[in-house]
Symmetry: D2
Subunit: 144 residues, 4 copies
């Protein structure tokens, strides 16, 4: 019943640290990139959302498990799955998979809750109807 | 019974995003800076730990709640508190407080579990005895 | 006589700052990503170069001009052009172009000189022969 | 005749890359932090400048030389020196010094030109009079 959106990315020098692995905070960037592309695929531009509807999404909670490290030049795939669409929030399940190894390996997984806020005061605000409809449609688009 | 370590920092352009607030992943950098300074205050250099004992700390889990946003030029204080010291891991409770507002305000809080690994294979490894002792000492140093 | 390599990228929240534009240091990340992909297209893996030949590339000089800002969701293209291949260094000319506007616009341009160093002591070292040959080949591949 | 402002900082995991050294783009963050603190020391808040006078500073050009690498836990000092104060721009000379080695060592040096722009359209705009006076004062404050 749920769409699984996937976004590929490469690990560059900027993503790694002196431990030889991807710095842990950077998975939050990777997750955010995938959510952005998922929104874009659903026809939603965050730039327009902000400028024309005074709405933006901010992260409210994250629960992340780091299973295994990624390294320079690794090829990753980030998944996006909506777990729950609320009036002013969306809960996601996201994963980072290593694709460049001998077999796919789960590197990092987590739940992220984003809230919709009014850009003028950063207070919670309902997700605009068309945006909620697009999200709802993208959830059910791939259901059997 | 537990030491509360505090580390001050400022919000710079690099920390913010086009939403006008600190980018959510950057709190993980702030938390990591504070843990590093807490380790340093306990007499532990991560550079030496890695080079001379083939041990490093990696983050295993994070659970973060974002309560309120920080902005450019804001003055923050990051706290570090050890919740549990294990054989090969340490659990922390950390908070980010806004100090430059009319009164202190909790911006972000969370639990972070770090694991000690062998730098040669990144497998779990026990925390070196002297390091564990230093952590244990720093925990009890300020107890009444 | 010179190959022009192009690499596309999108501007995400992580790239912007509270000024509403891409933070200036991030163009260096963009340039580095494009150089990495150019090397990869030439058959060179920096991970292998480091592990098997104890060589890595480090940046020695940059001269960057910022012409116009990029914003969230903008679609950019980064170019890579070798200006000079030396024994232990490579000089690049790189540009960042905005593609998502009414017409392509040059946002940022610069020259970057990278040096080849020995990973064990970070001292200058000659570029491995096969790597130099691959770079030389990629330069002349597209000449008429 | 010119003030030399110095700002200390530490190298954290977030600043390093898998090469074991500080990622080159991060020196631009360090330079920017030092310029921000120099402005703050001169009594100028960029947040207020933006909100109340619709002015912000953007970087127009950088010319950076990387002399030697910094590593995790290194203690650095970043200098700020005004080379030229124009009507709508300021030219800085900045350096990053390693303090934690056997003797101070110059790691990175460069010239940075920032321009004052109107926040509403990002077009060049004259530096507000009080800000220019504060910069001028800070330049001459330490002259003999």
């Amino acid at each position: 019943m749920e769409m699984l959106f996937r976004w590929p990315l490469r690990v560059y020098y900027e993503d790694t640290d002196t431990g030889g692995i991807v710095f842990y905070a950077n998975y939050l960037k990777f997750f955010e990139r995938a959510r952005t592309e998922w929104l874009r695929a659903a026809g939603i531009s965050q730039q327009h959302l902000s400028e024309q509807q005074q709405r933006m999404f901010v992260v409210k909670n994250t629960t992340i498990d780091y299973h295994a490290p990624a390294r320079l030049d690794d090829s990753l795939e980030i998944s996006v799955q909506v777990k729950k669409l609320g009036r002013a929030s969306v809960n996601f399940v996201q994963e980072a998979w290593l694709l460049s190894g001998p077999e796919p390996r789960l590197l990092c997984s987590g739940e992220i809750r984003i809230g919709c806020v009014d850009t003028t005061n950063l207070r919670p605000a309902s997700i605009p109807e068309l945006v909620a409809a697009a999200i709802q449609h993208s959830i059910t688009a791939s259901s059997p």
